[in-house]
């Protein structure tokens, strides 16, 4: 049962990542990234690594903001015909990337990489609530600051450009 769940999560993860990269709409791409990150978070919980899962959520907050801002800065209006041409060019250029990623993942899972350091004892009682609300207050504050910065970025760079 757990194996099936893990396989479903891995498939969702790859599909989400491919969708994020291949979609031509900014909003879809951002939603795709959030979805991919959410699936990765669940995968990390599945692997008994709640601290890493919480970190993934933090990173997602930062990356989404950064990608939003950088994409908005590069945005320009395109016609429907240009959109079709761009989609074809993108597919022709990057169709092999998902296959490379999946193949690399399979190869890496088969190769035994020796860990040459002593792994620490697993944390005793690091549930999500404890991590988020007792251990990582500062990170939460940083995440809120990143989200606020993203909001100001959109307001400053995007909203006002409509007046131009």
């Amino acid at each position: 049962m757990v194996l099936i769940l893990n396989i479903i999560l891995l498939v969702l993860f790859v599909v989400g990542a491919v969708w994020t990269m291949m979609t031509t709409r900014l909003l879809h791409s951002a939603v795709g990234l959030a979805f991919t990150s959410a699936v990765l978070t669940v995968l990390m919980f599945q692997l008994d690594s709640p601290l890493a899962a919480v970190f993934e959520l933090s990173v997602c907050a930062g990356l989404v903001s950064a990608i939003f801002i950088s994409t908005i800065m590069l945005t320009k209006r395109v016609t429907a015909e240009e959109l079709i041409v761009q989609r074809k060019i993108r597919l022709a250029s990057f169709w092999f990337l998902p296959i490379v990623v999946v193949a690399a993942a399979i190869v890496l899972s088969l190769i035994h990489i020796p860990v040459d350091f002593k792994l620490p004892e697993p944390p005793v009682e690091n549930n999500v609530k404890n991590i988020m609300w007792n251990l990582r207050h500062l990170d939460l504050m940083g995440q809120i600051a990143i989200l606020l910065t993203g909001v100001f970025g959109v307001v400053t760079l995007f909203k006002e450009s409509k007046h131009d």
Partner: protein, 475 residues
């Protein structure tokens, strides 16, 4: 009440964005000035009620912050440079709506910078460096000028590479340490000193910080970002942002978490020496005022990294002292460039000349800043460079000491050329109408110049009581 350094800017942003825009737009500037000036006050005068009082806000948050002497120097630099940048922004950003957004972003940057210098956790460090980086992208581009967008884009691309490297490193170190607190990671690094994984993680984290700090060979983004950003943002970026997100983090991690380590120190010394030389040589060929200052920054940051690599207590004291001095005199030079650019409409030095007669305060403060940058006595920059050279000499690094001295002569050459091309000589007909910049630019320039002169003249009196104790952050 350390948490106030992070929580007060947060509260200020919340208050500024309450639905009372007409009132808050007027108050935004004063909030920023009060916070940055207050920060300078509490660091210099150490009021007991602040440092030992009951932290009412902190009771609701477990922030795990810590302020040692290194953090104090950084908090002081952050406060001074932010104060200057806000005043320059008030003078140079005409649109009130843009000025309001600028203030919000500066406050967010302040949260990021204060958090970075006070935290004690590797992952939190990554997050707060990102707060600083993302607010910097937007600040560079916020006037949506085409050149500024190009500068911001270069910064985003290289910063994203740094982000990936640092994050990958944190994940490996988390695996090795089971936690990301500085103490846990330091213990794991010590226990697994021969591990290739751990060394790889340290290496890529350091590479990420080299990018953030604009060190050669990862400096590609820096001249574009510094020179193309709006004037007030250039002051903030060159004065403190890259120092906090790159150089402070390097000092903290290489001395207390990843090191001390002889091979790491060797890499730092090479990177520092190469940055000193390449930055100085590149600066000599520039005709754009801000671009020349940007390359000069790369060179000056090289001194800090060279001293960091030397690794002795005296060298580290010199590194931190030069970091403080550089944040002051480089901010001053960028404030001067803002004054010149605003009054002449250009930053091309070939189109200037003779401005000293029209802009006496800018001329005088620029002279002080360039002499301090070049290490001319008795200004502050001379003493910090002297400490670095003495530390290198005492440790037997004669060639590095020679490079440091020789590059100071090159620095003197290109900054003298800048001063001659901009301020000395005969005023051209086109510039006859030029007048001194407004109070918002002249005042911070005078404050920064006074600090440079004051620290330089008082050095013999503060050396034992303030400068040497900086080294107490070393364990």
């Amino acid at each position: 009440m350390l948490s106030l350094f992070v929580l007060l800017p947060f509260l200020a942003i919340v208050m500024l964005n309450l639905p009372l825009k007409t009132v808050t737009r007027q108050l935004a500037l004063w909030f920023g000035i009060a916070l940055s000036a207050g920060q300078v006050f509490v660091v210099i005068f150490q009021p007991d009620v602040f440092w030992n009082g009951t932290d009412l806000l902190g009771r609701f948050f477990t922030l795990r912050l810590q302020a040692d002497n290194l953090s104090m120097v950084m908090l002081l630099s952050i406060g001074i440079v932010t104060f200057a940048a806000i005043l320059v922004g008030r003078q140079t950003i005409a649109d009130s709506r843009l000025r309001f957004n600028f203030m919000n972003l500066v406050l967010l940057s302040l949260i990021g910078m204060n958090g970075t210098v006070l935290l004690t956790d590797l992952f939190s460090l990554y997050i707060f460096i990102e707060v600083v980086a993302i607010s910097s992208f937007i600040l560079i581009a916020f006037q949506r000028d085409l050149n500024a967008l190009e500068g911001a884009f270069k910064y985003i691309i290289l910063s994203a590479v740094a982000t990936v490297l640092m994050l990958l490193s944190v994940s490996v170190l988390l695996m090795a340490a089971g936690d990301t607190s500085f103490s846990s990671v330091a213990a794991a690094v010590k226990n697994s000193s021969s591990s290739h994984f751990v060394r790889f993680a340290i290496g890529i984290f350091i590479c990420g910080l080299f990018i953030k700090g604009g060190l050669v060979p990862f400096h590609g983004w820096l001249p574009a970002a510094y020179s193309m950003a709006p004037a007030a943002v250039s002051v903030l970026l060159a004065g403190i942002v890259t120092k906090v997100s790159g150089i402070y983090a390097l000092i903290r991690l290489s001395t207390s978490v990843f090191g001390p380590d002889s091979s790491l120190n060797a890499v730092l010394m090479i990177a520092g020496a190469v940055s000193i030389v390449i930055g100085a040589l590149a600066a000599t060929g520039q005709s754009d005022f801000k671009r020349m200052l940007a390359y000069s920054s790369i060179s000056q940051v090289g001194y800090i990294i060279l001293a960091l690599g030397c690794g002795t207590k005296l060298a580290l004291v010199g590194a931190v002292f030069h970091l403080f001095n550089h944040s002051i005199f480089k901010s001053l030079l960028f404030v001067n460039s803002a004054a010149v650019e605003q009054q002449t409409g250009t930053s091309d030095m070939d189109k200037m000349g003779g401005l000293g007669s029209r802009m006496p305060y800018t001329n005088a403060t620029s002279l002080i800043a360039f002499l301090s940058t070049a290490g001319v006595p008795p200004l502050a920059g001379f003493w910090s460079k002297l400490i670095i050279v003495i530390a290198l000499w005492q440790s037997g690094y004669y060639i590095y000491a020679f490079i440091a001295i020789l590059s100071s002569i090159i620095t003197l050459g290109y900054l003298l050329s800048m001063q001659r091309r901009v301020f000395f000589g005969i005023l051209s007909d086109k510039l006859q109408a030029v007048r001194e910049a407004g109070f918002g630019i002249v005042f911070p320039a005078c404050v920064l110049a006074a600090i440079t002169v004051g620290v330089g003249l008082s050095f013999p009196f503060i050396f034992n009581s303030f400068i040497i104790p900086i080294g107490a952050f070393l364990k």
